[in-house]
Symmetry: C2
DNA sequence: TATTGTTATACTCTATAACTATA
DNA sequence: TATAGTTATAGAGTATAACAATA
């Protein structure tokens, strides 16, 4: 596939990042299923820190989706027993989403499993890894 | 967010790649909408090369989804006027998905736009880009 | 018998619009 | 008036199972 535009290397790097993206997109749902969750549910669970309930509206912003979706998403997570709606004490309109004990446990396992996962990265040298981190930080934060 | 397991740097790199993944996941649908397509439809369109119709079953494998989904996906792409089902001459069971003239044009614009997109990558030095490509190749192919 | 594509069905994710209860 | 969350509705992506046509 030949593409014109930009520098050759930047373009190639971008294509590779896209291939990475679609590879993840294919593998993630199967991976998440280990935990009885969809990939977006995993993402939501990882965003909610233990003992720190997050208002639904903030969760919607963090997930970059409409607030109306969060209702159903949280419904499903709640019926799965991993989160719990807790009313705000300061604003009676607000409901926050907090982890249950089971949710905090599951989230821990999930993060642990993610951390153990990067087998392909372990083939990189120490110097390569350091540089990759530097580059990705520029990419993700910028 | 503190995670135990693996080496610190590999873990950090993996977290960054995941952040990249979810950032893309948020931005891609909006980006694809420019073309009147969903992100998966963009992905499919980019997989089908001009003058090279691809059997539905192969497309399903390439998209890593069940064959039954491809029926609807191709229906929508067909009603959008960018692809066309063409019967195989050698096996009367198979239908291949080929680009229409409009589809080939759209695909070209799409790839062009992707190529022009990597602004964050252009901030990298030449050496950084080269190394990033090397590392990503190991990651994606492995 | 096995494979290709389709249909039927069901669930999740997504958006928009209208509604309620609060602020 | 504006905001937080819900509901109703619609469309797209996903899977499984059953089916017809073909190999």
């Amino acid at each position: 596939m030949v593409i014109k535009g930009s520098s050759g290397q930047a373009c190639r790097a971008w294509q590779l990042l896209m291939r990475f993206f679609f590879a993840q997109r294919e593998h993630l749902p199967g991976w998440a299923e280990q935990f009885g969750l969809s990939s977006i549910q995993c993402h939501a669970l990882h965003l909610i820190e233990p003992d720190r309930p997050m208002p639904m509206s903030r969760l919607a912003r963090a997930l970059a989706c409409d607030a109306s979706n969060v209702t159903g998403l949280v419904d499903r997570l709640e019926s799965r027993g991993v989160v719990q709606r807790v009313p705000s004490t300061t604003d009676r309109r607000v409901k926050a989403v907090g982890l249950t004990a089971a949710g905090a446990k599951l989230r821990g396992e999930l993060l642990q499993r993610v951390a153990m996962r990067p087998h392909p990265l372990s083939r990189l040298s120490r110097a390569e890894r350091r540089l990759l981190v530097e580059i990705l930080e520029k990419l993700v934060d910028g």
